[in-house]
Symmetry: D3
Subunit: 287 residues, 6 copies
Amino acid sequence: MLQKELYLKTSGFLRAKEDYEKSKAVIVGVPMDFTVSFRPGTRMGPRKIREVSYGLEDYSPYLDESLNNKNYFDAGDLDLPFGNVEKSLKIIEKSAENILEDNKIPVFLGGEHLISFPLIKKVAEKYPELAVLHFDAHADLRDEFFGEKFSHATVLRRACEHLKDKRLYQFGIRSGIKEEFEYIKQHGFLSFAEVKEGFMNKFDEFKNYPLYITLDIDVFDPSYAPGTGTPEPGGCTSKDFFDLIPYFKKLNIVGFDIVEVSPINDLSERTSLLAAKILREVLLCIC
Amino acid sequence: MLQKELYLKTSGFLRAKEDYEKSKAVIVGVPMDFTVSFRPGTRMGPRKIREVSYGLEDYSPYLDESLNNKNYFDAGDLDLPFGNVEKSLKIIEKSAENILEDNKIPVFLGGEHLISFPLIKKVAEKYPELAVLHFDAHADLRDEFFGEKFSHATVLRRACEHLKDKRLYQFGIRSGIKEEFEYIKQHGFLSFAEVKEGFMNKFDEFKNYPLYITLDIDVFDPSYAPGTGTPEPGGCTSKDFFDLIPYFKKLNIVGFDIVEVSPINDLSERTSLLAAKILREVLLCIC
Amino acid sequence: MLQKELYLKTSGFLRAKEDYEKSKAVIVGVPMDFTVSFRPGTRMGPRKIREVSYGLEDYSPYLDESLNNKNYFDAGDLDLPFGNVEKSLKIIEKSAENILEDNKIPVFLGGEHLISFPLIKKVAEKYPELAVLHFDAHADLRDEFFGEKFSHATVLRRACEHLKDKRLYQFGIRSGIKEEFEYIKQHGFLSFAEVKEGFMNKFDEFKNYPLYITLDIDVFDPSYAPGTGTPEPGGCTSKDFFDLIPYFKKLNIVGFDIVEVSPINDLSERTSLLAAKILREVLLCIC
Amino acid sequence: MLQKELYLKTSGFLRAKEDYEKSKAVIVGVPMDFTVSFRPGTRMGPRKIREVSYGLEDYSPYLDESLNNKNYFDAGDLDLPFGNVEKSLKIIEKSAENILEDNKIPVFLGGEHLISFPLIKKVAEKYPELAVLHFDAHADLRDEFFGEKFSHATVLRRACEHLKDKRLYQFGIRSGIKEEFEYIKQHGFLSFAEVKEGFMNKFDEFKNYPLYITLDIDVFDPSYAPGTGTPEPGGCTSKDFFDLIPYFKKLNIVGFDIVEVSPINDLSERTSLLAAKILREVLLCIC
Amino acid sequence: MLQKELYLKTSGFLRAKEDYEKSKAVIVGVPMDFTVSFRPGTRMGPRKIREVSYGLEDYSPYLDESLNNKNYFDAGDLDLPFGNVEKSLKIIEKSAENILEDNKIPVFLGGEHLISFPLIKKVAEKYPELAVLHFDAHADLRDEFFGEKFSHATVLRRACEHLKDKRLYQFGIRSGIKEEFEYIKQHGFLSFAEVKEGFMNKFDEFKNYPLYITLDIDVFDPSYAPGTGTPEPGGCTSKDFFDLIPYFKKLNIVGFDIVEVSPINDLSERTSLLAAKILREVLLCIC
Amino acid sequence: MLQKELYLKTSGFLRAKEDYEKSKAVIVGVPMDFTVSFRPGTRMGPRKIREVSYGLEDYSPYLDESLNNKNYFDAGDLDLPFGNVEKSLKIIEKSAENILEDNKIPVFLGGEHLISFPLIKKVAEKYPELAVLHFDAHADLRDEFFGEKFSHATVLRRACEHLKDKRLYQFGIRSGIKEEFEYIKQHGFLSFAEVKEGFMNKFDEFKNYPLYITLDIDVFDPSYAPGTGTPEPGGCTSKDFFDLIPYFKKLNIVGFDIVEVSPINDLSERTSLLAAKILREVLLCIC
């Protein structure tokens, strides 16, 4: 059951229904950016994504479906103790646990990438065959960062430790330290610099698993997503990604997050709009 | 005595001539954005487009021609009664009428998309065989919007009612409500998500009509044109468009507008620059 | 009774209670800026004021009271037909009527200044002895503006026509056309350039009336409130205004609005914060 | 035929007349910022000041007069060879010479402060009894700057060499190097940190001279004028300055400039608006 | 001795000497903002303050002295483990300890206000008679914040526990929760809303103690310091503060910090410039 | 030998070594933008490129090498006399001379494009077989600009005069005046609108020469590099360029510059990041 005291009230994504019971997907905002090294500011991400969603239609020409007829619930933002990483991760975990127990699909909005760790951990407990699709510019596979085990730069390394056969598929990776690229080779999982090619290449392999998708908005080139903490030139275009949407529809998505949207660095709000439009498509795929 | 040669004229697009009589094209700014739903601000568009035009050369390598030798006139901005949609549309219509009576080609700078309605109406009266090329992210084909018949979201629907055989060609459309996409199918006119493919595909068909071209700057991906009211991720690149310029040269363009440039949302001014560069090319095509 | 269908859901101001019945004050956002002549953008005002209110404490050291213990209700934003001034004013009027019938105090967030007209009209119907305190840089007393009777530049002129003995007190006025200053003299009502002096000067006179307070944020110098449509240098400081708060506590406030907050022109968000802090104090005065 | 009354002229300060002959004051923009050391950008100043002037009324409540009835001419911006200081100063000088020969009053908009040198030089030639009122945060009295004799940091030192009895009055000065403050003492001219006090203090002394007024916008505190190249905290308020306006009316102003407005550093445009409003008042004083 | 491995290289403040041995004051940047609740971004503060210092003269007209002749050392920024509050506080403490052991005066640049805790603790150990002058908009006297004992909102409460007789003097306080204002009354220490009055009032009392001065930039009104995390309208002006500088010269300052400068929220850079100018004056007072 | 007095101290690029002797490449910042015609501001480029370099990893997945192990030295910014073009060019020349005499490779960060002239001149003196690869949107081949021989718009024309057989290869050129395109044809050197195609096309020809590479950041489309003085729509993507990096590795690069990065026009900092990432790759190619 949803523990109301965990959440702060916000406006809802697009025209989210107020009926938790009937909803298949539950949106949760996670305003956390304590471990970020370069530019903080992602804690304003979830509110901004909701705000700009009012500029979108609810109909998707990519899927020829309208969100109007779908049931999804927006629970608001988690109420986190600022500066306390450990307690914050526990609250996120608790929130995910509630949603999974109610047999609903968690859809989380970051905040920094570290928030994906407790989510993947909880989803993997429920779905032992889980694979993770990871869209990102950075490998996020360090073993530690500034001496810390839990950080936005180590999050997929930690998540891997909870995945059967280290079922991780990475798309868009174009930055990291040598250690991370060696880790990738050693453990034989897959990391592609090109988003579209990589995805289509392995589609037949991962389509059979229950899937958790984590999307760091910096997978896009900074021209498409300037509002993020560690923009990395040389990324994919928005069209490259939208071309994949019909394939998303065929997947068994059991968890999803979009992270690292930092509104302050993007006066044009197009980063948040891009996140909001992707969220619309994903909700149409899972509801 | 004042030596005129010491001074730059502080306005006018590029180095517009002051000779109305000899000019073939007449530029008019329309600072109107009253019916906009998401982000107002396009009323500053016409001034900004002129201002940044000083950063452009007058020579086009795409057409190997220089605007220097061409005659076009910049009439300035229309003086509109703010908040009064009906009267404003009448003033726009009057302005277009004057220009058409003098056998000149109207080139209007928005402002919001609704300004295209009185223009297309007047041009269609003069050229009964008129077809419209519509570059946009949004179909703008609703029958009404918030109960209003005349709005930026209904403008092409209204315009269609004045076009023989509903001769509308849409390029770049990637957003709308279900009703609009159904209207497209019912009436058998053409709407393409891809700009370049769509344009080349139907070139032989529309090239024989007198043409009105209306270009909503949001046809471009928000990375290319962040300064607009309702940016829609997933659009075309600036190169996609400039590749079409040599084909524009072969068309019989009898009216043109660029709309929805909103300078406030683009500190880099590249949206206005893109509009100004397109305007240079179009003036070279029609003068 | 509150007609729910008039409103869009938003996050609430500070930690507004969800109990309409018990609330004495009702907050309503009015995202309207169609008649604005210089810089539009105030339609984003109400949402931003609520958003930044999370950076404020609920305790006021000026009044030694906490909003925590007070009952006020945030109804959300009115759902307006963009571009249609007439219908929009009717919806605002309807909303005010509902609130007044329920014997609650309307507290409206603009939006442009024109929204004050239907509010003052409705409040004056209920309280025939009503006087209006008007904080503004501009007199807003034109008879018409660009040929329009209803505009942000004529709003107080129109409102005066509904006030017994033209009971209007203006503070901070430092801009207008000659006609407006002559109107002031002819009708013998009071207009002060200095906010604090003017207010204290006439306090004993107006304190006995039921009062509607309308505050255009541009009464403050643009250094204190840069985020507004027609900033006018030479205004008062924030401290000048907060010094008046203890006197507000002694007044019989029966209606209130803050208008012309335009977030896009203020990256620092201090204009919205100033509005939010004033709103906190006013809510403490009336609840 | 084109109906001229439909259009607004897109440039010119406020509604400047097009009649050079009848005009007493001539406005000239000088887009030069080559010698600036900290933040360039003032070359966009003159255009922006004109642009925002459309947000001002032409009536001044400070002087109870309207610019509507006055004759002044806006010549546009000087066409300068970028990067060539020497030639640029000659062009400025030429422009001033023309205006003075026609017995008109030069009113120049910077650009950087160095532009005042050729102006003061030419005005002093015509009026040998000339005194200069200098509003600024910086003394600008270095003998050289980075080895250069002509720079924004040496401009008043150079100007002094053309003034009888070194008739320089400085107001608002709160920054400089030791050498400059010693130069002030040695030559016995007057420099005040406080604008209002200093001005009133010496009013009876300077009011009898023909006066050139040079106003560096950074005389205001950066909160009032953030859009400038070398903002210096601790300056005067806009009100402090407007209180002096009635006294300006009594002076014999024979030349005027406002310099160092840098629009790029001020998204709110209030620096340009402040400059435009001061310009309105000064034009009312001299026309 | 300075442990070099603790620091990252940066450009130095103004023209800081490279001679640690001879320097009396040691500048250290602390890029930490993990516990901030509203708007993060202060971690970029120290670098920006140094960057804009190049726009300042080294001569102070307030004190008639030049920083040129003074010895102070800029050690660079501390290299902190992002997201780990506990370890970060230890590193700050270590850095302060080194500097104090070498009989130098620590001058720290934040970062968030929590960094003052380890500094005050260490300075109080060395100077048992220490009093703290606290310039701030917020009391920062909560006992805990979101369940945390160590936070920017509790920092002075924690610091008090290390001060003999709770020798805390607060100036500019205009925000807090009821509990904090009651704590102030109970413990009989002094908190003033007005900066200048409060300071002058108690000057004779605190001037005899060794003093630690902690200045949260939000003590200034947001118009003077928009670039900060929790701006609070109604604060003091920059002039109010600079008027105190000659009195600072008479104090026995044994430690100093400026905190909460957040460059991202201030495009004009005036907040950083204000901090840099204050730092110049304080260095002149202690060197 | 490096003349220390020429340079101002800055933070270093990425983690530049402090060992000049062992370094093969020497980075120098050139904060000059005096001859720029449209938007100045590039003088802040070098500092910003260094600042954002902290957001990059030192490992390159494109070359599978880490900058960690390489020796390069960052000398800081040249201390230039603002406004004096001639002296500034001499200082740049002197700096290049020193570096070349020490048999190191000059790597300069602009500043405006004119800085490339003294660099190419000096490098061509040392390597008489030198060819220049020129990445830019503009041909920069005018003979004069506003009457000046030395300007950002004439720089490659001047440079050509020092190159044997006018060995100039231009990539990305999409703007210029007719004269420039005719000069290209007359002198038979090569200019391509497409970056990637052009480069690959002529690779076998130029790979045998010692090469100077000059990269004007506006070669990229303004969506990828909005922070520049004269953005020109229709340019290449960042990916187009990074695809060439492995080919760079095979070249004999003897001099390099990146110019025209103007941080003020790019709040997202992605232009500086793109420059920094290219610099990382080039350093890996030459060290």
